[in-house]
Subunit: 501 residues, 2 copies
């Protein structure tokens, strides 16, 4: 068959796969926002059917012959087809290299492990989860062998979430960040100039929080004709296609930060997905390029926009108008200090901007140790406690607030955690580059003119989807490789000021 | 292959088809309740992909061999498998008998015709729509030839929506109803005892209507763990599976009837789908058995429950509590008279209980005439006007409020309209049978004890899904075939009283 015809057939085939993916995306959104309780059993069957169809399409003989037929004619293909082909080939090989029987067993193990983890966390009893985690680690170590690895075996797992990022890179940047952040955290703990946060925990009616959240989305540039805001227990954003990118948030009437900063965070994810080039629709490239770059967008808007004094100089009055008198006696500068409070804590998802990366490093070191066979699962509770003491100066009283707190490992997602910390570093590095193009950044915030900031991100990041790898975007946009110094500088300057260090 | 093994494979195959169907159901629900505007283009692709997969599954060689392999061993199969097989076979034959190329052209015609109809209705210009309607009629006449027919050719189309119901039956019952209703409508028009309806059109805040709608759903026995209430421009109920049956309504702040009676109507549909036997989940039997029986449930709850004096003797005070003083000076009996007002009108969807069947008869006569070649599309505006004058004593001023008002024909849905009228007759016939088992029906309503009424419907109708054909249910439940006299008696008694005839 000639290449042009084969290319067309391949794109049609890929388009069909994307249709399954979008249907699944909608089903998951629905389950997490408002599907009735009794829907779940049968809906799981539907998910099972569509997922396994999608898996079959990705590993079919037809896919194999597309890969074989097109790979040797890349010079005749469009750039989009070439990248699409590469994505499909990678997926094909990943899925095919694991023996079918072993993969089936692994899927069952994942699903069991997740429910056992839930129970173990509830009972705060690691020993329940331990045998499952051991099997999950063993499976992933075998998968690494099947898939092959360059350098450290853990690199293979990292590559799934953050293509191009390796243990060598992470060891370097994490050491650098740790060296700067650990003493900073200690200094803050000893500072006598702590913000008063008591007003945060007073009543802010849900409907008013919702109204303000919608206002924030609008101001930041979220396109409501291509999305909607709903509630979810664990907030998320989901891009079904660039014309349908939905955000969710959670309202806590006794802590407004959850909804407000949660919404801005998810808005960052959503702007990324809403602004991917239309040319990529219907291909696997129509999605954020990596977990880390995705997180850089949510964190950029949450922290470098949403927690800035200039931003609140514009919107604090609006916030006051929505609230029930909660902020009336709090001056702007006190408000801004309070929403930027930093304090060592036990739970990752509640951690502040400064201490968050330390939570990630602990998980990174443990994952690396497990995959390389240098740590044993049975020792994790003890390792966890000692690392938290060392990095954060706090020790969990039980496994529920310790090693059992995160869902990730129960699903076998090793290699995912570092993306969260990379997101911070990328965000700070983008901010540094953006300052050259938009030296009036703070002025824009104080005018509520966020469009140029959003447009900068569209130009440099969003539009490309998966057409560029994460480190390619970093290099082209900032002129250098990953550099943790920008995050360190940002945190040091910011917290020195807030705590008058 | 042995029959037991083949039966198992067949049920797995059918289960997969149901998964596609459920995913499509969720996508349609989402599009009609809150999907963002820009989602639509790409979502249509997804619908296209999943629908054509489903179509392929229903007409595959695999399906053909299931039918061939199992049909000759029905005595070894479970009853559910037998009925499932029959459904699949019917679908297979319907789809296979139309030449593939012709079917493809028809799908394109449908989609074009629908958008042309929209434009024609907007411009109130039938001539725009006429050539498309002509082609649709021609196609359906050819389809009838492909499918074959017994007796009147139109029977074949009727059978798609109301299996077992024929022109012979409809001619008889419609004549009977017309003979009773037309003079009744005339008498009402001349009656000096008309209810005052002015209070209906005063302001009832949307949020309060929503609260009362939710209350009604709860009182009637809708299971909120297996459903939810949303807004839609054209309200509907959709059963994704018995654990997920969603209802929608529309709030008009200047006419509360739209939301309240709309909600109760959709609740009737939903009760049906929520209470289908769990044994049928994952088969095509897990759905209402026909359009007419479905409509009997919505109309039963809307009219025989929701418009009854006894019902409002229980809930009128609650309604008053939710409203903004709108009903304070209206006595209960005046309220009940007003919500049962009857008046000849031009638009079917706004028609009242008494005149509704006349709107349906007009459409039935036209469809029958077109399919049998006794009427021409070009004459429809004129035929429409004269029939409306004859049956209802009103004449549309233009095509938009005449022949162009309904969407059905633009989608090629000939044979669907009679189901609406059958729904009324079934409902009245069920009510007559129910009165024997529940002679205290009105007392139950006035106590707000609707459970026994719902349970009666579950026992006789809901649980069976498609395990029984509509006329089988009617026969077994009421001891006789379709009998229009019950509807006539009900309407005559009710309206004689309301208008003091």
């Amino acid at each position: 068959m000639n290449t042009i015809k084969l290319e067309k057939e391949f794109l049609t085939y890929v388009n069909k796969m994307q249709a399954y993916d979008e249907a699944l995306g909608l089903i998951f959104w629905d389950l997490r926002t408002g599907a009735p309780k009794k829907a779940v059993d049968q809906r799981s069957q539907v998910i099972g059917t569509l997922s396994s169809e999608l898996f079959d399409l990705s590993t079919s003989d037809e896919m194999a012959s597309f890969i074989a037929g097109l790979s040797s004619h890349k010079e005749e293909l469009s750039e989009i087809t070439v990248k699409t082909l590469e994505e499909c080939q990678q997926e094909y090989e990943r899925n095919k290299k694991i023996p079918a029987e072993e993969f089936r067993e692994y899927v069952i193990l994942q699903s069991k492990a997740e429910s056992v983890w839930e129970e173990a966390r509830e009972k705060s009893d690691f020993s329940l989860f331990q045998p499952y985690l051991e099997k999950l680690v063993e499976s992933n170590r075998r998968f690494v062998q099947y898939w092959g690895s360059e350098g450290n075996p853990y690199n293979t797992l990292l590559d799934r979430f953050e293509p191009g990022v390796t243990v060598e890179i992470l060891d370097r940047v994490f050491a650098q960040v740790r060296e700067a952040v650990v003493p900073l955290v200690k200094e803050i703990g000893e500072s006598p100039n702590k913000p008063d946060t008591s007003f945060i925990f007073t009543h802010f009616p849900k409907q008013a929080q919702k109204k303000f959240s919608l206002k924030m989305l609008e101001e930041i540039g979220y396109d409501f004709e291509a999305g909607r805001l709903d509630e979810a227990v664990h907030p998320f954003a989901t891009g079904l296609n660039p014309g349908d990118v939905r955000v969710t948030t959670r309202y806590d009437e006794n802590d407004f930060r959850s909804a407000i900063f949660g919404t801005i965070h998810e808005c960052g994810h959503a702007l990324y997905e809403q602004n991917i080039s239309e040319d990529l629709i219907g291909t696997p490239l129509c999605s954020g390029t990596s977990m880390g770059i995705h997180e850089s967008q949510s964190l950029f808007f949450e922290n470098f926009v949403g927690r800035q004094p200039a931003f609140w100089s514009r919107y604090y009055d609006t916030l006051k108008e929505h609230a029930d008198g909660q902020f009336d006696h709090i001056p702007l500068n006190e408000f801004v200090r309070s929403i930027n409070e930093s304090k060592p804590s036990l739970i990752r998802v509640d951690a502040d901007e400064l201490t968050y990366t330390l939570h990630i490093m602990i998980r990174y070191e443990i994952e690396k140790g497990l995959i390389n066979g240098e740590m044993k699962v049975e020792n994790l509770p003890e390792i966890w406690r000692s690392k938290y003491q060392e990095y954060l100066g706090v020790t969990p009283e039980n496994d529920a607030e310790g090693v059992l707190q995160d869902v990730h490992w129960s699903g076998g997602a090793f290699g995912y955690f570092p993306s969260y910390a990379l997101g911070y570093m990328y965000a700070a590095q983008f901010k540094h580059a953006m300052d050259k193009d938009l030296p009036n950044f703070d002025e824009l915030l104080s005018q509520g003119n966020i469009a140029p900031i959003k447009d900068w991100m569209i130009t440099h990041v969003h539009q490309y989807g998966k057409m560029k790898k994460p480190l390619e975007i970093i290099k082209e946009t900032t002129g250098e490789g990953l550099n943790a110094q920008y995050l360190i500088d940002y945190l040091t300057e910011k917290y020195t000021k807030i705590y008058s260090l």
